[in-house]
């Protein structure tokens, strides 16, 4: 099932920080109805630790898991040395098996909701399909996943944002920057990340997105005015 709707917009919060933007999200609005009416949901939030999101879900008696896959993907230990560490385009070639051995390690059919945000747009090419495959397996049948994809009009320099839930259909966006403390990683080992910042890796068209989520039961597109397509998929 594919439904196209248009309703999202972006606006700047005038006070305090020019870096903080808000946007309306139709996909979030639809998901919100689910978690406002259900109890004890299990939610996976893929991004840097967000106190705002953790508070949002714990106040509603849901369990939230936090995992920052984008930062985890900058670990130099993931580079495949035999291939020089780079592909023909000069992008790093990463070991997806090693990545999935250390990340997204959860029981099958564990989550009701996965908040994927804009992860596929910024994740290393070799990790995207394996990660989506793992997300399929950790979602419960009927569970929902929300992802954002830039359109071509967004341009190659679109900054990577972290999304914080500030209302039933409203997100606050903060630009993601790799900080030295973040690069230290969960093991505490200080290492030099593969890159200093996150860049848009590719632009998915609708066919690519459908293909990426082909194992899921349904996919719904929401068109936005800020060159981002929201996608809500159901396992």
């Amino acid at each position: 099932m594919k439904i196209f709707r248009g309703s999202s917009s972006t606006e700047t919060i005038p006070a305090q920080s020019a870096q903080r933007l808000t946007r309306r999200s139709s996909g979030l609005g639809e998901l919100s109805r689910m978690w406002e009416s259900a109890e004890g949901l299990c939610v996976l939030d893929l991004g840097a630790t967000s106190p705002t999101n953790i508070r949002h879900f714990t106040e509603r008696s849901h369990r939230i898991y936090s995992e920052d896959l984008l930062t985890a993907s900058t670990d130099p230990a993931l580079l495949i040395p035999g291939e020089g560490g780079k592909d023909e385009q000069g992008n790093p070639v990463l070991d997806s098996r090693k990545f999935l051995a250390d990340n997204l390690v959860y029981p099958a059919a564990h989550f009701d909701v996965v908040l994927c945000w804009n992860l596929p747009d910024y994740l290393n090419e070799g990790l995207v399909k394996p990660v989506v495959g793992r997300l399929w397996s950790v979602l419960k049948p009927g569970g929902m996943l929300l992802a954002f994809f830039h359109t071509r009009d967004a341009g190659p320099d679109s900054p990577c944002h972290r999304y914080h839930i500030v209302g039933p259909d409203t997100l606050e966006m903060k630009k993601v920057e790799l900080k030295r403390e973040v690069r230290r990683g969960p093991t505490g080992a200080v290492h030099t990340a593969i890159s200093d910042s996150f860049h848009l890796q590719r632009v998915f068209n609708n066919r690519h997105i459908e293909n990426l989520f082909r194992d899921f039961a349904s996919i719904k597109f929401f068109l936005a005015r800020d060159n981002i397509r929201e996608v809500l998929v159901v396992r």
Binding site: R63, I64, E67, K179, G188
Partner: protein
């Protein structure tokens, strides 16, 4: 105010302990601990130099350093901005500062 100044039991940053740690007073860990920490009815603080690989069972837990392990806190958990935590947290109340790193679950337990 330093840990010693307020009379906390303290593990300094040059100390490494491996095994089960239990007690009935508040504890400040700025060194390394591997094993388990049980302080039922009391609080644990992991200082900025602290590196703990242990399951924790305490009344309150404040983390400024690094923890690998699950936290079971009867009352409250605080992750300060320098905290790096890999593990699940079960508690009644939680405070997470911007910049803290958490890889794991947060489960708020009601009375």
């Amino acid at each position: 105010m330093s840990a010693s100044a307020v009379g906390l039991a303290q593990i300094g940053k040059s100390v490494f302990i491996k095994g089960e740690l239990s007690g009935s007073e508040d504890l400040y860990v700025d060194g390394q601990v591997e094993g388990s920490i049980a302080l039922k009815g009391n609080s644990l603080t992991i200082g900025p130099n602290g590196q703990v690989k242990a399951g924790i069972d305490a009344k309150g837990v404040v983390i400024q350093g690094k923890l690998e392990g699950n936290i079971q806190a009867a009352e409250r958990v605080e992750l300060r901005k320098s905290a790096i935590v890999t593990g699940d947290i079960a508690t009644q109340r939680i405070l997470i500062e911007d910049g803290a790193f958490l890889k794991g679950k947060v489960d708020i337990q009601r009375d």
